[in-house]
């Protein structure tokens, strides 16, 4: 990435990057809860913390200033300090909406939103925007709707030759 590009990216994500705190593997949940309490008590202005299920021993701290985060974690048992660098919001969101285990033709159940509980057939998947278009099965007439991939749950794999 050129210096110019890098600068542009930094500006664009000025309000939405994450610092990374490392913990002993398996202790990230306990450490995050202690951090939450400290953030609230001391009004540190950190709006969220996140632990990704696929990354053991890491806590992502939204919009934390390095010295604030350093202070925040000092003395917490099982905490192993900060990693260098920061992660943009888009990377975090991508990691959360990861389950692309769904394919066109699969039968899915909608798990959130106004259509929760309905079943549908997957017509199209847009992994870039993290959305899936499904046709609701129980509707009187076929009704295609577009949802976030994480709002559906796989019920049945498409049968071969279908």
């Amino acid at each position: 990435m050129s210096e110019k590009e890098e600068k542009k990216t930094t500006t664009a994500s000025e309000e939405s990057y994450f610092l990374i705190v490392r913990t002993v593997g398996g202790q990230e949940y306990n450490v995050a809860l202690i951090m939450k309490t400290r953030i609230e008590n001391k009004n540190l202005g950190i709006p969220s913390l996140i632990i990704l299920p696929q990354l053991k021993g890491l806590i992502f701290v939204e919009r934390g200033l390095p010295h604030v985060v350093q202070n925040l974690i000092s003395g917490i048992k099982h905490c192993r300090g900060m990693l260098r660098g920061k992660v943009p919001l888009s990377e975090i969101v991508k990691a959360i909406s990861r389950p692309v285990e769904i394919h066109v033709g699969d039968i899915v159940e909608i798990v959130s939103g106004p259509f929760r509980g309905y079943k549908g057939k997957v017509m199209d998947i847009d992994s870039e925007s993290g959305t899936v278009t499904i046709e609701i099965m129980d509707a009187a007439s076929p009704m295609p709707i577009t949802l976030r991939i994480k709002d559906v749950r796989l019920l049945e794999r498409k049968r071969e030759g279908e």
Binding site: L33, P47, S48, P53, L89, I92, I96
Partner: protein, 77 residues
């Protein structure tokens, strides 16, 4: 559920807490009803955590459509 978790070698994320299958809120196991959505369907197996401290100021909460402060699981299998 716990059997399959053990088979996959995944330890429970945070003993003493369960996740609401409806809204994914993570709450103490002793709660009978989800204080967020009123749901009563819970899972002891859950992974990943989103701690929203200030939903107004959190770009993450906005991106995920979370409007209330709280603790949420990411995966509730």
């Amino acid at each position: 559920m716990s059997t399959s978790a053990r088979r996959r070698g995944r330890k429970r994320a945070l003993p003493g807490y369960k996740a609401c299958r409806n809204c994914k809120a993570v709450i103490p196991e002793t709660e009978q009803k989800c204080p967020y959505c009123g749901g009563t369907d819970f899972s002891e197996e859950w992974y990943g955590l989103i701690i929203v401290i200030d939903p107004e100021k959190s770009a993450l909460a906005k991106a995920l459509g979370i409007t209330r402060k709280g603790i949420y699981a990411i995966d509730v299998p």
